[in-house]
Assembly symmetry: C2
Homo-oligomer: 351 residues x 2
Amino acid sequence: MWVKVRVGESLSELAREAAARTRTISERLHRHALVTPLTGWAAATEETGTEILLKCEHQQKTGSFKVRGALAKLLSLSDEQRGRGVVAASTGNHGLGVAHALSALGGKGFVCVPEHASPVKVAAIRRYGVEVRVLGADPLETENQARLLAAEAGMSYVSPYNDLDVIAGQGTVGEEIVEQLDGRDRPVDTVVVAVGGGGLISGIGASIKAVLPGVRLVGASPVNDAAMAASVRAGEVTRVDALPTISDGTAGGIEEGSITLPLCAELVDEWVLVTEPEIHSALRFMIDTQHQLIEGAAAMAIAAALKTSRGSGGGATVVVSCGANISSAALAEALLSAHLGGESHRSVRDN
Amino acid sequence: MWVKVRVGESLSELAREAAARTRTISERLHRHALVTPLTGWAAATEETGTEILLKCEHQQKTGSFKVRGALAKLLSLSDEQRGRGVVAASTGNHGLGVAHALSALGGKGFVCVPEHASPVKVAAIRRYGVEVRVLGADPLETENQARLLAAEAGMSYVSPYNDLDVIAGQGTVGEEIVEQLDGRDRPVDTVVVAVGGGGLISGIGASIKAVLPGVRLVGASPVNDAAMAASVRAGEVTRVDALPTISDGTAGGIEEGSITLPLCAELVDEWVLVTEPEIHSALRFMIDTQHQLIEGAAAMAIAAALKTSRGSGGGATVVVSCGANISSAALAEALLSAHLGGESHRSVRDN
C-alpha cells in the first residue's frame, strides 16, 4: 500500500488532469496561502486506538481551505480574463477566499451576497478591501444573478466547487499531506475529508491517489444533508430533503452537471455519515483536548474520522480539519448540546 | 517615546537583572518554544478606533506562555540540580509547561496535583510522559506538600511566578514583541498583560522597558480577583475576598515575599480591572471576528485592552493573548452569558 508511484495509472483522465493542475499551481499558490501543519492528536489516538493526525486547515488564511481554490482559479485566468474581473457569490468561506485572493493578487472583481446577509460576515469580506454587492433575496437567487451578471459583463464566475481549477487549488491540501507524510515509518491507511459540493475531496483525492493509490479516501457528510453521497449512490445528481446541520460549510445541493460527481464516484472509497450529536461531541472533544477552534464542517469530518477509526486496528488516519469559521452562537449551542447529551433544539443555520 | 536605548537606565536592579536573564536565556529557550505571531486585529481596531495588535501566545506550545518560564527555570539549573530533579504543583498551564520542559530537555522530576483534579487535565500532563503525583486535598495543600517534598529530596521547586528565572522566561514574550515591532512607522503606546501572580507582566515589563522605556504597561485583572492590584495599592502583599472568575489562569493570592510585587509596583503604569460580562463579551468578540480559541485569562486581558483603547486616540495597543486552555464547559457558559447579557458587541442575530 505504502508504495509511491509517479503517476496514478489507474486514475481517470479527469482526476489525472486535476492532479496535474495541482502540481502546476502549487508553488504560485503558496505565495499567498499557508502550508498548514499536520499534527498528532494524542487524545484522539488514545480514544480510538488508531493514530489520528490532524491536517490543520483551520489555521489557513481566512480560516478555511476555500482560499486555495480561489487563488488557483484567479491564477489560472489569462491577463485578459483577469482584466475583465471575477464574480463570486457567498457570504461564507468561499467569499472570504475570493476576497483574499483578489486582495493578494490585485485583481478586479466583487463578491455578491444576499439581502439580509449577516453584517459580521459582510464586514469580514469588506476588510479585504473588496467590493461587496447585495444581490438577490436568498443564496440561490444571489448565485443565479451573480452568474448572469458575470456572463453579461464578460467576467469570470468563480464557482465554489464545480470548476477544475478550484478543485486543483483544494488539491494542494492533498499534496501537502503527501509531503508531510514522507519519511514516516508507519503507513497512513485513511484520509477523511468533509464533503459538501465535493471540491475539497476531489482535489485531495486526485492529488493523493496520483502518488499513494492505496490510501482509503473517506467522504464525510452530515446525516442531515448528504447530497453528494446520495448522488454517488444514485449515479446522478440527486436532491435530498436536507435538515439543518451545524456543518453549514457542507450544506446545500449539487448543481446539475457537476464535475465533482464523477470525481467523487471514482475517488471516494467509503462514505461515513454522522449525526448532529456526533458532530457536537467531536467539536467539544477538539476544544477540550486540543484547545483549537474549528467550524462545524471540520467537526463533522473529525466525527467521521473518530467513528471510522475506533478499533479499526489499522495504520494512521489523517483527518482534514477544514476551517475555523464558526459563530459564537453556533458554538455555544453545539457545546451546550454536547454537554446536555441531547439533540440540538433549534437551528444553527447560517443567516 | 519611540526611542530605543540599550539599557533601561531608570530601571531597578531587580528589573534590569530580569531583562538580562531574558536576553541570556532567549536563544536556548526558543529551541523548545515558538516565537508566536504578532498580528493585526482589524475588527478590534474598527471597534475601538485604536490599532489593536494581538500577541498570539495562545498559539504557544502547551497552549500557554507558562512553558517559557518552565523552560527558563530548567535551563538555569546546574547539572547537579538537574540531576536531582524538579517538582511543580499545578493542574493547569504551569503543570503543562513544566511537563513540556521536562520532556523537551530530558530532565528528571514530577508534577503534583490535588486529589480530585480534573482527569482531562491530569491526562494532558501525563501525555508528555511526565510523572504525576496526587498530593493534598486542594491546590494550596498540594503546593505546600510539593515544596516540602522538594526540600526534603534536595529537588528544585519550580514556582509558577515567584522566581526570577521563571520571570525571565516569560520576559521572552516582551523581547519578541520588541523585535516584531521593529521597523514599524507608527508607535506602540500601550502593552496590556494579564496579571495573576505577576510573573508574565514582570518579565514582559522588564524586557520591553529596558529597550522602550516610554511604553505604557497596563496590568489587567478581573474585578472579582485582583490580589496583585490590591497589593501594589497597599504597598504590601494583601489578601482579597476573591469571587469566581472565568479568568482562572490569573486567580489566587500572592505569596508573602513575592518578588513580583516590587516588579509590578515599579513596572505597571496603570491597572484596568474588568467584569465577568466584559470578559465573556471579549471572548465572544474574538471568536466571532478572529475565529481563534482563547482562555479566560486571555479574554480578560483583551477586555481590558478594548476598554483602555476605546477612543484613546493614541498609537497602537499590543495585547498579550496569553493562552488557549479553556474547557468546553467554561466556554459554553461564557458564550451563553455573552449572548444573554447586555455587554455584547454585536447582536446574536448578526452571527
